[in-house]
């Protein structure tokens, strides 16, 4: 599944990745804190929406992602 940055404010266009709590290839459970992101307003922990393997990180630490961008791909547990 594609992990997409959701709309969180009228003029919030982007958020910056502070750090990933997991490395590529690691298993994650649903609800685990996946990544910490920072907007102008606050910092946020994004919980993993599903259980599976974090197969790809598309927004690296320090990089900025736009609302709607896919920041990671999780291969769901069957």
């Amino acid at each position: 599944m594609e992990v997409m940055l959701p709309e969180m404010g009228e003029d919030i266009k982007e958020a910056t990745v502070s750090f990933w709590h997991f490395d590529e290839g690691e298993k994650v459970s649903e609800g685990d804190d996946l990544v910490e992101m920072v907007t102008d307003k606050a910092s946020f922990n994004v919980p993993s929406p599903v259980a599976g393997v974090l197969s790809e990180i598309l927004s690296q630490e320090g990089e900025t992602a736009k609302i709607g961008d896919v920041i990671a791909i999780i291969e769901e547990e069957k």
Binding site: V3, M4, L5, P6, E7, M8, G9, E10, D11, I12, E36, M37, V38, T39, D40, K41, A42, S43, F44, N45, V46, P47, P49
Partner: protein, 303 residues
């Protein structure tokens, strides 16, 4: 950008936020959650809770802590009350908070539209409890009377900050104008706001609520005095939270107030007789609005 202290961190549950965005998108309604970049969006949207922003999403005031757009608003949408009533039903809300931008351009400040919205909501959702977070209506008591007569459950009006900071944080500078060009925005006034709370308290049985934002450079003494003024005005519920700069044009955060300090202000408020107090960095005016209402109306105090 000033780094956030470790306590300024929230959860951002993607699935639940998207679901709620989807539910609200089709209705064309505005929420203060989205307009004000509220950091609690994850928690509230997960619970399918939102605070509706009526009378458009353009404000005639220029408060420097707020990310709601400023300028010349459009005429009120006469279909909005019905749309809100439908959304309340769709979300299955049993407690709803209605707030608005300030409409200095309208003769009644939008009070009539509040009334229409309250009635439409009740018509379709007879059991729902309603809290209005009202603007100051330019101190127009006729406008406030209209709202009182609807016998809402909670009347909220935010004092926002200490009196010394009104001029710098809620300035007179008015970027807005009427369609005819003249400036229509007014300046918020600390004493007016206190008088509104007092007026509603003295003329109704409605619970009274107000909120203070910390982090603009106010002193402890000033905060204690403001809490005391709210108590004298008859506030039953107060909410105290940390200012977070929502967007570039807004004032900087002067101080991230330590969570212990929020507890201290809560203890003080309770010690002078305010029964229901929410005080923590992420508290906003409508945060846990239903919970605090239920606790106070059940006669138990909030811990």
């Amino acid at each position: 950008m000033k780094p956030f202290p470790q306590w300024i961190k929230r959860q951002l549950p993607i699935k639940e936020i998207n679901e709620m965005n989807e539910l609200l998108k089709d209705s064309g309604l505005h929420t203060v959650c989205i307009s004000a970049h509220c950091p609690n969006i994850g928690e509230c949207f997960k619970n399918k809770e939102a605070t509706f922003l009526i009378l458009g999403n353009i404000c005639t005031r220029n408060c420097l802590f707020c990310s709601v757009k400023k300028g010349v608003p459009n005429p009120p949408d006469s279909k909005e009350p019905e749309k809100i009533a439908d959304a309340v039903k769709k979300l299955g809300l049993d407690y709803v908070v209605i707030t608005s931008v300030t409409r200095d351009d309208l003769a009644d400040g939008g009070a009539g539209h509040f009334v229409n919205t309250i009635r439409a909501i009740r018509n379709k959702n007879p059991k729902v409890r309603i809290e209005t977070l009202a603007p100051d209506f330019n101190n127009n008591l006729n406008a406030i009377n209209k709202i009182i007569l609807e016998k809402i459950d909670v009347f909220a009006h935010n004092i926002e900050t200490v009196p010394r900071l009104y001029e710098s944080i809620r300035p007179r500078a008015m970027p807005c104008g009427s369609p005819h060009g003249e400036a229509v925005g007014r300046q918020a006034d600390y004493n007016n706001s206190l008088n509104i709370l007092k007026y509603v308290k003295n003329n109704s049985d409605i619970l009274i609520k107000s909120s203070i934002i910390l982090g603009f450079g106010e002193t402890e003494q000033e905060i204690l005095e403001t809490i005391t003024s709210l108590r004298s005005a008859g506030c039953d519920i107060i909410a105290i939270g940390q200012y977070l700069k929502p967007t570039k044009g807004c004032v900087e955060v002067r101080e991230f107030v330590n969570p212990d300090k929020f507890d201290y202000y809560a203890d003080f408020a309770k010690s002078i007789g305010i029964n229901a107090v929410l005080s923590a960095p992420f508290v906003r005016s409508s945060y846990k609005a239903r919970e605090i209402y239920e606790e106070i109306s059940n006669g138990s105090h909030v811990a």
